[in-house]
Each structure stands twice: as C-alpha cells, then as structure tokens.
Symmetry: C2
Subunit: 156 residues, 2 copies
C-alpha cells in the first residue's frame, strides 16, 4: 500500500522543458471509480512498462496499488478500456527538492496541460511554492481527474 499526497495545477505559460525527461503515456480505465467508495482501475503503458493500478479514496490523499502486466495480458485487457482513454506526454521538471510532473495531453484533449507534484507529507505539501509558470490549483477538482477527462473530455 502507498499513500499519495499530491497537489495539481493548471499551467499558466509554457515552462522550459527542453532539458526535461519525457515519456509517452497511454492510459485507459477498466473502472472509473464512480460512486461513493468505488475503486478506480486503470491500465497504463509508459514505454515498455505496463501497469494495472487500483486506486481508492479521493482528493490530496489516495491509496493505490500497482501490478505489473506482461505485454500479452495488457493487450488482452486494453480493448476493455475503449472510449475511456487518455494519451499524454509526461515531462519531469526539477523544482528545488521537488519534481514537477507536467502532463501535456494529446488527441481529443489536445491543448490541456496539467502539472502534479507529489509530497512525502502534508507539511511539505502546504509549504510548496509553485513556480510562476503554474496556473490555478485544481487539487481535488474532479473535472481534472484523468478518469473524468477520459470519460467526459475537456472541462467546459
């Protein structure tokens, strides 16, 4: 079990990401976690890594378990996520002691960029000073959950 504490921001202006690490991510949902207490079940491919992830809870603190899948199992399950998928390019941007994950969406969500920062505890989450290129904070805003974006598209 791992507990995640993270804050999430929209992006006000493009940061310098020339030197950033970069990964192509495709993810799709077997279950969206709709309804009180229901789990979200996600498939994600990131390069050669294929994961099935189960998440419970919501907001800044969530519980999650990751299971590695071989290619065959992943390919078998992927069709079950049809209509509930997201594709994005992830950039890892160092910022002081923290690392900012900047997700630039592709496909139907083209034009959307969201930044996330993970923290070891609530205090460091509270103390985080966002760089100027980050925009509005959307931590806990359900419209910006990847599951919601996959099912409903861009927030209006």
């Amino acid at each position: 079990m791992s507990m995640e504490i993270e804050r999430k921001f929209l992006v006000a202006q493009a940061p310098d990401i020339e030197a950033a690490n970069r990964a192509e991510i495709e993810q799709g949902y077997l279950a969206l976690g709709e309804g009180e207490g229901r789990a979200e079940v996600r498939l994600r491919r990131r390069g050669d890594q294929r994961l099935l992830t189960v998440k419970g809870g919501s907001g800044r603190t969530r519980t999650e378990e990751e299971l590695e899948l071989d290619r065959e199992r992943f390919e078998s399950l992927w069709p079950l996520t049809e209509g509930l998928r997201v594709a994005k390019t992830r950039h890892l941007i160092p910022h002081g002691e923290r690392q900012i994950e900047l997700d630039v969406y592709r496909g139907e969500l083209d034009g959307l960029a969201i930044a996330e920062v993970e923290f070891p505890d609530e205090e460091s989450a509270d103390a985080f000073e966002p760089p100027e290129w980050l925009g509005d904070e959307v931590t806990g805003d359900e419209r910006y959950l990847n599951a919601t974006l996959a099912a409903k598209g861009l927030p209006r």
Copy 2:
C-alpha cells in the same frame, strides 16, 4: 487471455457431496461491470491463493485475465470491496468427462446454491446432459451473476 464457455444451473436437490473436493472462497468486487462493455474487476481468496480477476463480455462466452496478488496487496485492496462481497463453499463434483462446480453460499446469501460447468467448446456445452439433482438453467441470467448477488442479494 482465456475464453470461458460455461453453463450455470440452480440446484433442485442436494447431491452427494461427501467425497467432493471443497474450498472456502471469499470474493469482493472493485468494479461490478455495470453498463455496456464495462469490465468487472474481482478480488478472490481461495485458501492461500489470492487473485485479482478482470472479466469482460457476458453470457456463455466471456474473456478473463487473472493476476496473482501477494497477501499484503490483497489486504490493502480488500477494504475497497466493502458492501460488494460474496462468501461461498465450492464443491468439485465429477460428472462423466466434466466437472461440476457447486457453490453453496454463506452469510447473506445463505440458502442459495449454484452449479457451474465449464466446457472446452460450444458443442460439448450443447451436448451436456445435466444430472437430476440440477434444477433450472440460469446461464446468462444476470440475477445470478456473483457481481449482482454481491450488490443486490438474493433474487426475489
């Protein structure tokens, strides 16, 4: 990937299960597979075996993938199935070339017994002659899916 072909029956009278293999099974649902094309995601503990199973499709032919979980991961995920659980005792009963799985439910579903038979192909499924102790066939009847039983209880 595995394709399952199976037929399901209610039980008309108690069969001779003295000599039958027997296993205690607890299962709970992370996702019920409600809605068109949505996946069912199940946790199951059967003795020391702990599985996460994803199923898609419906009726006599379904696709499924099983992932083994260690105890720690299973225990971490199990609370997410609260309110969506089923407990049963499974008896394996030989019947000609086939094996009948007889599930006798415990707890809230006490009094319910369901028998399932798996087949290698559609022809042997059609050719199967149920023994006299089997009752009405309920193959494809959504009221008798374990996910439905877990969420809604005994059919009325």
